[in-house]
């Protein structure tokens, strides 16, 4: 094995089989590297695909009753039927709207409180202890209370989502503002920046990575809150779809809603990561090609 090839195979350590088969003349970073990367990508999909095949086989051969767990193909068929003739998109829309509304309200409130506390010691003294005390309560424990307050309507669900979203955004906003490099604040003084310009050009951009971490975490919490709120009681939405299906032992519909929840969770995480890549282009950790 030549030195150049040896070096080329370093970044893909662990897939030693692919490069070794290439002729010694293969250029560094050439086809051998790409081929092994594809092999790794294929390998990473092997386990999930095998899992689906085993699941399908077990269901078809009758080892698992459809009332316990439907075959993946049955779930896909149900998805198609519900999408074309049923109310799937309506329920999906209702759920998305609840999540978005709750996220916006809770996020705006958390950010506003975080900015106030981040900048002002007085605001910190006035607000922070109370917020931290409420934060110590697992917000889902408030569920029975919210049902008494708001019934099982939209308000209750949006309230619960907002409550869950508020804290991660708040905590990370405060943290981000407090962690801005004091040397850059000194620079702002030397450059003669006004208080407002210092906030806009130095403090908020410096706090942004931390705020976005909060956003990413809050998105996950928002979904968790929504699933719980919708499952306990709703007249529409994905959770309603699942609970309605439970009455008729329609496990295919229940599994479908679980898969949709998962897909939306993955989707919102992708959106958060896209935001980070866009807004934090300057940051070495989020730059293109960085992992």
């Amino acid at each position: 094995m030549s030195l150049a090839e040896d070096r080329a195979s370093v970044p893909v350590a662990g897939s030693s089989a692919a490069p070794r088969r290439r002729p010694a003349k293969a250029p560094a970073g050439g086809p051998s590297k790409r081929a092994s990367r594809q092999a790794l990508a294929a390998l990473s999909w092997a386990a999930p695909v095998a899992f689906l095949i085993v699941w399908e086989t077990l269901c078809r051969s009758g080892y698992v009753a459809p009332q316990i767990l439907p075959a993946p193909s049955k779930v896909a068929l149900t998805a198609w039927k519900l999408a074309t003739t049923g109310s799937l998109f309506h329920d999906l829309g209702v759920s998305l709207l609840r999540a978005a509304t709750g996220f916006t309200i809770g996020g705006a409130l958390g950010f506003a409180l975080g900015v106030a506390v981040g900048f002002s010691r007085v605001a910190e003294a006035a607000i922070d202890r109370s917020v931290q005390m409420v934060r110590a309560v697992p917000f889902l424990a408030a569920l029975p209370l919210t049902i008494i307050w708001f019934g099982v309507g939209e308000t209750q669900k949006i309230f619960l989502v907002s409550l869950g979203v508020l804290f991660p955004i708040y905590v990370n906003t405060v943290l981000g503002i407090r962690q801005v490099d004091p040397k850059l604040l000194e620079l702002a003084r030397v450059q003669g920046l006004s208080a407002w310009t210092t906030i806009a050009r130095v403090i908020l951009p410096g706090a942004l990575p931390s705020v976005l971490t909060g956003v990413r975490y809050a998105l996950a919490v928002a979904w968790l809150a929504l699933v719980v709120a919708e499952t306990v009681g709703a007249q529409a939405g994905l959770g309603f779809l699942a609970m309605d299906a439970r009455e008729f032992l329609r496990t295919d519909v229940i599994v479908l809603t679980i898969v949709i929840y998962a897909a939306i969770g993955a989707g919102s995480d992708a959106i958060a990561r896209l935001l980070e890549r866009r807004l934090l282009r300057w940051h070495p950790n989020y730059a293109e090609g960085a992992r």
Binding site: V190, Q191, T197, L208, W282
Partner: protein, 197 residues
């Protein structure tokens, strides 16, 4: 090199400056006069108060005694480049400058330090020496009456440091900030009046 443009008033006049950190007196009764256009190098071992003096001159720290008469807004180049990582180079250079024509002026300053092609680049793509050149451009674009250099090249390798010192000399000669004070223990260019502390 103390050729004065306006002979009337010195650029910096320090009388009996006292600076303490707690019980420790770092500067005790320092007198220092810097004429316009003068280049002063501060020499002394680390911890002797070079940075303390510069911070007093720049108004960053309060003083505990005496009087400092210096331009209200001197330009400062710090030991670290202190570029805003989230702003492009030209935005960094024009920080605190009026918006009008900021990009053009920043482009001019960056060209002077040899980075005219990198207006829209990010600070993370710069080497240590390049980052300090941008910091220098940010100081020059303010057309300061007083330029304070706080060991800006200390972290650079010897060869880069020599180049940077030559660049500073050239830029100071061209722009003539009324005075320019650079504490660095290794410079051999202290052919100008020297204040030790």
């Amino acid at each position: 090199m103390s050729l004065s443009v306006v002979a009337s008033r010195p650029a910096v006049a320090v009388r009996g400056l006292v600076r303490r950190y707690g019980a420790r007196t770092v500067i005790a009764g320092l007198d220092l006069t810097i004429e316009r256009g003068e280049f002063v190098a501060l020499l002394g071992e680390s911890g002797c108060g070079k940075t303390t003096l510069l911070r007093a001159l720049s108004g960053l720290d309060p003083i505990d005694g005496g009087a400092v008469d210096a331009p209200r807004r001197p330009a400062v180049v710090f030991q670290e480049h202190r570029l805003l990582p989230w702003d492009s180079l030209w935005r960094n250079v024009s920080l605190g400058q009026p918006e009008n024509g900021a990009r053009e002026r920043a482009a001019g300053a960056l060209a002077e330090v040899g980075l005219g092609e990198r207006l829209d680049d990010w600070p993370r793509n710069l080497s240590g020496g390049q980052a300090q050149r941008v910091a220098l451009a940010r100081a020059l674009v303010q057309e300061p009456e007083l330029l304070l250099l706080d060991e800006p090249f200390a972290a650079l390798d010897a060869l880069t440091r020599l180049k940077m010192q030559a660049l500073v000399k050239e830029l100071v000669a061209r722009h003539r900030p009324a005075s320019c004070s650079s504490p660095t223990t290794s410079t051999r260019r202290s052919r100008s009046p020297t204040a030790c502390c």
